[in-house]
Amino acid sequence: MLKNYFKIAIAVLKRRKFFTFISLFGISFTLTIVIVVAALTDHVLSAGYPDTARDRELFVTRMKYKGSKSGSDISAGPSFYFFEHYVSKLKTPEKLALISHNYATSTYINNKKMVTQLSYTNDQFWDVLQYQFLEGKPYTKQEIDNAEKVAVISESTRNNYFGNGVAAVGKYIETDNIQYRITGVVKNVPLSREYFYADMFAPYTLSKEDIHNTDLIGDYTGVLLLHSKDDIDKMKTEYNQMVAKIPMLSKDLDLRFTYADSYLEAFTRGLPFGNGADSGIGKFILIISIFFLLFLSLPTLNLVNINISRIMDRYSEIGVRKAFGASSKTLVYQFIVENLIITFIGCLIGIMLSFIIIQVFNRSNIIPDMELSINFRVLLFSLFACLVFGFLSGVFPAWRMSRMQVVSALKAQ
């Protein structure tokens, strides 16, 4: 039966080439956009180099003070002091990785300026994040405690500073008027991994900011690595209990907000959706869905219009089939299947187009080292989108068709 539908669908496609072109153009372009956006979202939100164990990680990215009376608030990253005095005392996590925000530091060599984004880390950072070392190894706890001037640099920093592929371990690099001894070189991280991107990593003891400053607001990000993903709820509870015990900053700013979040929660909390204890994930997904539906509505309507015209074209065929006893249900079913077949052909073209666009994007280096890909998840999502799209645009015309009177359909001939 399905084989018959398929044959009919192909025959119909061949009959009105112009309509076929319009349908396929609409479907494939719409799905191309959906797939590219999905690939981008997938890249930003899912685990990947160097952050591979995301399912058992929680992120501490924000510290916010708020005055319950005045309504004013201050929000930034938590400070090193906060992590050292409170978070590192927690029992649930296996490890705690700390990394500061990027500091732009400069070197001037031969009338040329080189800007290096420098981040300060602790030693466990290298255990939690799986940076791939091209040569050398990370600095040790010993070196950090001694405040030795050592650093791990990225591949592109090495290539810029020493030349392509020249071994750099043991050599010295100067930035911000300080000479650092290089202990390791890591593979580049794309800018889109906002917490883990840096051109150069150095021990936190070298930071110019005063690490003994007791302010809880600073510029560090913490990653809590748990023993297993079952510990997540336990960890969040323990974290919130700890936060409740922190003394108040001042009378004006009497409320504190800081959370151990999954990556997605930390992401939406940074957008304007998050508010207080609510990370805003629900709102985020709602708004994305509304946007998605609005975007799909125009191509869908267009396809519905085209499909109605196509069906009217087959007035007589439908009349004959009805006269010979085909039920409305069978006809609706047939038409939806036909439409899904067309949609899937459009979907295939869409996947090819988005594959080309993604290749062009990766080659263009608009965001260096950012490698988008159409992986299994993205493919699954686009197939789902395709199904929804095909179904939506097929149902209404099919329903219209099924209500057609046999007499009028036959008379039209």
Binding site: F25, G26, D176
Partner: protein
């Protein structure tokens, strides 16, 4: 004639309903796109309001532990002295983190009597206006005489003046109950070439109101090169122990800021463009099909003496009436934006966008109906009637 067209459309209301919805949504999409484009174009056409060429910025902070007013004042004076002594430096000014093109903004409220307004807040010292070349429209800029003034002097920009004072002279008036307006400057597009009108209040950097660090703006001479920047960097790193020095150039920051915005707009335009092509093809297909269906009707009209031009006019007219119906509904929604002041844009931005969107939809419909209409005009009555 028009009545007749309406009747024809009403008879096929089921079929036309979806077409109207499609035109309506296209119109709303185009209205949004045109609003964006018109808004950015209007902003782009306004003058910058300040000069960003040869201005460099860097953060600075007091040495660790320094917190009393006298030593901070002294530290800043010596820092300024150090930088100004370099031959390629023309002028130095202190400000807060919200320097032009910096991504940082500081906002707050301001009032004059009962009139309230939201505004950006800037900290500026006596040299700030010279460094950025801001044009003074009325009154004066800050000077040494303002030190220790009983009423805090503030300078406002033209947009804020318009909002708080209308056409009155603001000089000498009181704002926030205890601050005095001493000058009015032109609006600065300090968030990039496409920034909209923003209110601004400048207050004088003073160790009594800003003890912590901020940003230094350095106006250099055109001869300053990377070599000089290296020397400046060394000197600043020596003087400012507590902060990583990063020298940025305002012209480069501006380019980056504009590029980021333009990338977003171009992506939106590409997507909107594809949607429009999609809709155009769809409309064309449906109209063409409808006309093919009505061959006998058209043939009959030709047979009783209608000219080809009249037929083609009728079909285009029908499409236009459909579009008009969609546009009336669409305009009803679109007009709510200026009426309810949804995004705080100027009314004329919306009106221009509305006019452009309406014209665009009409043009689109005419173009899509033109070819099918011509085809219909070419129908021979004998052939069409023979088919029946």
């Amino acid at each position: 004639m028009l009545q007749h067209l309406f009747k024809l459309i009403w008879n096929k209301k089921k079929q036309n309903f979806l077409l109207i919805i499609e035109m309506l949504i296209s119109f709303i999409v185009m209205f949004a796109v045109f609003t964006l484009v018109v808004y950015f174009y209007q902003n782009y056409n306004r003058p910058m309001g300040f000069e960003y060429e040869n201005v460099w910025t860097t953060r600075y902070d007091n040495p660790a532990g320094m917190s009393d007013t006298d030593s901070v004042t002294e530290f800043r004076a010596s820092l300024k002295q150090l930088v100004k002594a370099m031959p390629q430096v023309a002028e130095v000014a202190f400000s807060n983190v919200n320097t032009p093109f910096s991504d940082a903004t500081i906002g707050g409220g301001i009032n004059h009597g009962k009139i309230q307004a939201r505004t950006n807040l800037y900290s500026a010292d006596d040299a700030y206006r010279d460094v950025l070349g801001i044009q003074l429209k009325a009154g004066r800029w800050f000077s040494k005489d303002d030190m220790g003034a009983r009423e805090k002097p503030v300078v406002i920009n033209e947009s804020l003046k318009q909002e708080l004072f209308g056409n009155d002279n603001p000089i000498g008036k009181t704002v926030n109950d205890h601050d005095r307006v001493v000058g009015v400057v032109s609006d600065m597009k300090d968030e990039g070439d496409f920034t909209g009108r923003k209110n601004a209040v400048f207050s004088r950097v003073d160790t009594s109101n800003q003890l912590w660090g901020g940003v230094m703006l350095i106006k250099v001479k055109p001869t300053a090169d990377a070599d000089f920047e290296g020397r400046l960097y060394k000197a600043l790193s020596g003087a400012i122990q507590n902060k990583s020095i990063e020298i940025s150039h305002l012209d480069k920051l501006r380019t980056g800021k504009n590029q980021r915005l333009l990338t977003g707009v171009i992506i939106i335009l590409i997507v909107a463009g594809f949607l429009v092509v999609n809709v155009a093809l769809g409309l064309f297909g449906v109209l063409w099909y409808n006309i093919n269906k009505r061959k006998s009707e058209i043939g009959l009209r030709r047979a009783v003496g209608a000219s080809g031009a009249a037929i083609s006019k009728q079909l285009i007219g029908e499409a236009m009436v459909l579009a008009t119906l969609a546009l009336i509904i669409g305009t009803f929604f679109a007009i709510q934006f200026p009426l309810m002041n949804v995004f705080n844009l100027a009314t004329n931005t919306y009106l221009i966008a509305l006019a452009l969107a309406i014209t665009f939809i009409y043009l689109l419909v005419i173009i899509c109906a033109l070819y099918p209409g011509r085809q219909a005009a070419a129908i021979f009555p004998a052939v069409a009637l023979h088919e029946e």
